[in-house]
């Protein structure tokens, strides 16, 4: 079940109604929400229900055992149990999501030395949402192991892992942020409907209209035949993909946050205008913030962070970003994308340290506006260059696109059209729009009568439908 479908709308109406009717009766409410969430899982893939329940039970049992061991002073045993739980989660994710990647890689390597392996025995389908569920599970068990949170009951854990709004596109919420909200009783007389509708509408525009249109009109044609396109056209396509991938990811996350808000559950913001960034570090603060902070807390910190010297810091950054790249997708291009960002972050740290030393010596810098402009252009350029690697079908194809961007002055520029330029520039300009720009609009909407609100929402849905693609599969670029 995808968000922008009539099926999800009907499903959500039922969930909304039941949610507010049963909220006063916590146990019944929780059981019903689990049922709704598992139904949602099953709609994605029936096998996903089994995987989700299995992961909840395994992580719940192991986390409780680790907590007891820690409580009894058996720190090492607790750590081993946590490691076991993490291993189980990683293996489950690996079996489903990275099975093909491993097999293809092994097959390719064996073929390279003259061996011819047979056909793979397994034919697995990756359940959409498993990547997020794994992050939730590992985060929970590590938090318990570290003593940051107390273990929660198995029902709470199951609901925490599978709560349907965050299952497809996040955001990633920690157990101590979400489970307490399951036990609260939000006021049913004050559902923040305008905020939620605004999030969902903006999310639909981004995911259904902008991402799909740019993919169809600019990115796919350019990347399908990069040899025919000129360098500037490919550079423009890379910018367009930057907008497309942001619009797709953040649009789905907005819909998730809006849906949860209507149910009385608050999620943190997942994206914060990443293309405003003046440095790669800032980009990773603003890009998919909840996933990035998860990587920081559970990978980077676990590896040692910046506490063991500069060389290990750089290694930890590279490893964290490589794992992050693999989380975004099972393939060499995704791994390369992550490593590339790791290299960028290391290089940026080195450059920043040099600039600081130069400044200490009293060397004159550039005017702030020029320095800011250059930093933005460099950051955006590097991010777009990395997106080329992310989007390309193979590393060779990525190399071809990047090579032509630099060298090919001639070629087709068919994808560089006025509407496409307007969409890309407009989408980037929207990064400067903040919530407080829309206070008056939201207040006016809130003051309308319900029928007028409904009519406006229906008009918005119609326009989004008219502008969107004919087929409901706009998120093919989401690798997980």
């Amino acid at each position: 079940m995808q968000f922008p479908t009539a099926a999800y709308a009907v499903f959500f109406l039922a969930a909304f109604t039941v949610n507010w009717l049963l909220r006063p009766h916590h146990l019944v409410w929780r059981a019903t929400m689990i049922a709704f969430s598992l139904y949602f899982c099953g709609w994605i893939d029936v096998r996903f229900v089994i995987v989700a329940v299995g992961m909840a039970v395994a992580n719940g049992v192991l986390a409780s055992a680790a907590h007891r061991a820690r409580h009894d002073g058996r720190e090492r045993a607790g750590s081993r149990l946590v490691a076991l739980a993490v291993a189980v989660d990683v293996v489950v994710l690996g079996v489903f999501a990275y099975h093909d990647f491993f097999l293809d890689s092994v097959t390719g390597a064996l073929s390279g030395i003259g061996l011819s392996p047979g056909e793979p025995a397994l034919d697995l389908v990756v359940p959409v949402g498993l990547s997020f569920l794994t992050l939730y599970a590992i985060g929970y068990v590590v938090d318990v192991g570290r003593g940051d949170v107390e273990p929660v009951g198995i029902a709470d854990l199951l609901l925490y892992l599978t709560f349907f709004p965050h299952l497809i596109a996040g955001p990633v919420v920690r157990v101590d942020e979400l489970v307490p909200q399951f036990h609260e009783r939000p006021d049913p007389r004050r559902v923040p409907a305008t905020d939620a509708f605004a999030l969902i509408a903006v999310g639909l525009v981004k995911a259904v209209v902008v991402a799909s249109w740019l993919g169809r009109e600019v990115v796919d044609p350019a990347f399908a035949d990069p040899g025919a396109a000129s360098g500037p056209a490919l550079a423009f396509a890379a910018c367009a993909f930057a907008v497309q991938v942001y619009a797709g990811f953040s649009g789905l996350a907005d819909i998730a946050v809006g849906s949860a808000l209507l149910l009385g559950i608050e999620y943190p913001r997942a994206f914060d205008a990443p293309y405003r960034s003046l440095s790669l570090r800032e980009f990773w603060v603003r890009w998919n913030t909840t996933v990035s902070s998860w990587m920081r807390d559970y990978v980077y910190v676990t590896l040692g962070g910046n506490r063991r010297g500069r060389a290990l810091l750089y290694r930890n950054l590279l490893v964290t970003m490589a794992i992050g790249g693999l989380w975004y997708g099972a393939g060499w291009t995704f791994l390369a994308w992550g490593v590339l960002h790791g290299v960028f972050l290391v290089a940026e740290r080195v450059a920043a340290a040099r600039a600081e030393r130069r400044a200490d010596r009293g060397a004159a810098g550039l005017p702030w506006w020029l320095a800011g402009g250059l930093r933005w252009a460099l950051t955006f350029g590097l991010v777009c260059g990395a997106w080329v690697v992310y989007r390309a079908d193979s590393l060779a194809a990525a190399g071809e696109v990047l090579g032509r961007i630099v060298t090919a002055a001639s070629g087709s520029s068919a994808v560089v059209t006025t509407p496409a330029i307007l969409v890309v520039v407009g989408a980037l300009a929207c990064q400067l729009v903040s919530d407080h720009h829309t206070v008056a609009v939201r207040a006016r909407f809130s003051a309308l009568r319900p029928v007028a609100q409904a009519a406006l929402l229906a008009a918005g849905l119609t326009l989004i439908g008219a502008l969107g693609p004919d087929t409901p599969a706009p998120f093919a670029y989401l690798p997980f």
Binding site: A9, R190, P268, W284, T289
Partner: protein, 457 residues
């Protein structure tokens, strides 16, 4: 086993106010919001100074000085303790507005009222009503698109269920004329929606691409001789630019690409006067949804058709109802094929007339295996029924819009070499314009052969 208490259980958290001069700090906004609250702003408040604003502006995202510890990947404040609430920025602004608005001495009630106003806080029941009404309206307005999307699904229970839901919605939409709003939206969006002034008959499209001359009125003697000398069934007169052959191209949504290509591929010679009529989600199994025999009779009558180019079957891989009203749920049922063949035969006979040829185009191979099997059964019904009817010529596009042996293919080799031609859309069902062109070329050749003159450009 109790969960760790949350760091913040409030609905919304406040942060520092937005800096002076930053977008959103619009003085007129205070008046607008005050007016919405039904109160006047009491007195203009002096702008506040905010230490550190410049630094914040200089370094969006809070600056890098905060990244001293384990924070290279993301802001340490992000993702913990219900952080960075969606509306924090707005609430920073709201807080100051409230302060200015109320002289800074108002209680929590007004704060809550303000929060509720901007966030649109409403009772859950009212929100439910808004959502239900909005979705019902949207469903009615977008019914055509929903049906089209449903019919693009691979055949199966889900597709049948979706069509069973959306067809009645579409009927209501057409009765209320709400589907025209979607047409308007598509037209406004620059899509292929029909311009609002143009009436859209039925669920599909019916467009006439006339040659230079108007067709002879119905009932008038067919050009090229009087009725006594009219050719036999299936034989065509030789058209001229002054007296073009009157052609009706009709059928399900597959006819769209074929019809457009057929018109485009014959307009220069002007020997055909073509009416294209396709209806989405239609076919010969669901006369309750769209009655093609009746519609074709009307088309033939209105256009005085001499050539019928028909294409059915893409929507027919579903249940059918026998003459005694017994429902037959699947194509595999042994009762399905005889009933379908009966309908095909009946329509072929209905279209028979002296001096008129029927060109029956079968469906191209489909990508989905089960759908492809159903389409093969349907195509065989067409071929077998046409075998005994000399006025019907069957055009099989399997080898043209597919790989060798009539197997589905997305691309086919270009006629003159070069890059392969993409003939199918990503759904594995619809034809691309290039696929329509290929098919139209063959149909035009068949018409030209029957008429004794090349009608294609």
């Amino acid at each position: 086993m109790a969960p760790t208490p949350p760091t913040d259980t409030g609905t919304h958290r406040r942060t520092e106010p937005i800096p002076e001069g930053w977008p959103g700090n619009d003085p007129t906004l205070r008046d607008e919001v005050a007016a919405l609250r039904g109160r006047r702003r009491r007195s203009p408040a002096p702008p506040e100074a905010h230490a550190g604003d410049e630094a914040d502006l200089d370094r969006p995202g809070g600056g890098e000085d905060r990244h001293d510890h384990d924070d290279d990947v993301a802001d340490p404040s992000a993702g913990r303790g219900r952080p960075d609430r969606r509306h924090e920025d707005a609430h920073g602004d709201q807080e100051r507005l409230r302060h200015e608005d109320d002289g800074g001495d108002d209680g929590g009630d007004r704060d809550d009222a303000y929060d509720d106003l901007v966030a649109g806080a409403q009772p859950a029941g009212r929100v439910l009503v808004v959502m239900v009404v909005a979705l019902l309206l949207a469903m009615l307005v977008n019914a055509d698109a929903l049906v089209e999307r449903a019919e693009n699904r691979p055949p199966g229970a889900q597709r049948d269920r979706a069509l069973a839901i959306w067809h009645p919605v579409q009927d209501v939409s057409h009765v209320l004329q709400l589907h025209r709003l979607r047409d308007l939206a598509e037209w406004a969006a620059g899509g292929d929606g029909e311009a609002p002034p143009a009436p859209a008959p039925g669920r599909g499209s019916r467009a006439r691409a006339a040659a230079d001359s108007e067709p002879a009125p119905p009932g008038e003697a067919a050009p090229g001789g009087d009725r006594d000398d009219a050719p036999a069934d299936g034989e065509l007169r030789t058209p001229t630019a002054d007296e073009p052959l009157r052609v009706v191209v009709a059928g399900d949504f597959m006819v769209q690409a074929l019809g457009e290509a057929l018109v485009g591929g014959s307009e220069e010679r002007g020997l055909l006067d073509t009416l294209v009529h396709y209806e989405s989600a239609s076919g010969l199994t669901r006369s309750d949804y769209y009655d093609w025999p009746e519609a074709l009779a009307r088309d033939v009558d209105e256009h005085d058709a001499e050539v019928l180019v028909v294409m059915f079957g893409a929507n027919d891989g579903q249940g059918i109802t026998l003459a005694d009203r017994t429902p037959v749920p699947t194509v595999d049922d042994p009762r399905w094929l005889p009933e379908y063949r009966r309908r095909v035969a009946s329509l072929m006979d209905q279209l028979r007339a002296p001096g008129r040829a029927v060109v029956w185009v079968t469906q191209p191979p489909m990508r989905n295996p089960s759908f492809a099997a159903a389409v093969r059964t349907i195509n065989e019904a067409f071929i077998e029924e046409a075998a005994d009817r000399p006025w019907v010529t069957v055009v099989e596009p399997g080898d043209l819009i597919g790989a060798e042996g009539g197997v589905y293919a997305e691309n086919v080799p270009a006629a003159g070499g070069g890059d392969p031609v993409v003939v199918r859309q990503p759904d594995g069902i619809h034809l691309t314009p290039a696929g329509g062109d290929l098919l139209a070329t063959r149909v035009l050749a068949v018409i030209g052969e029957a008429a004794g003159v090349d009608v294609a450009d």
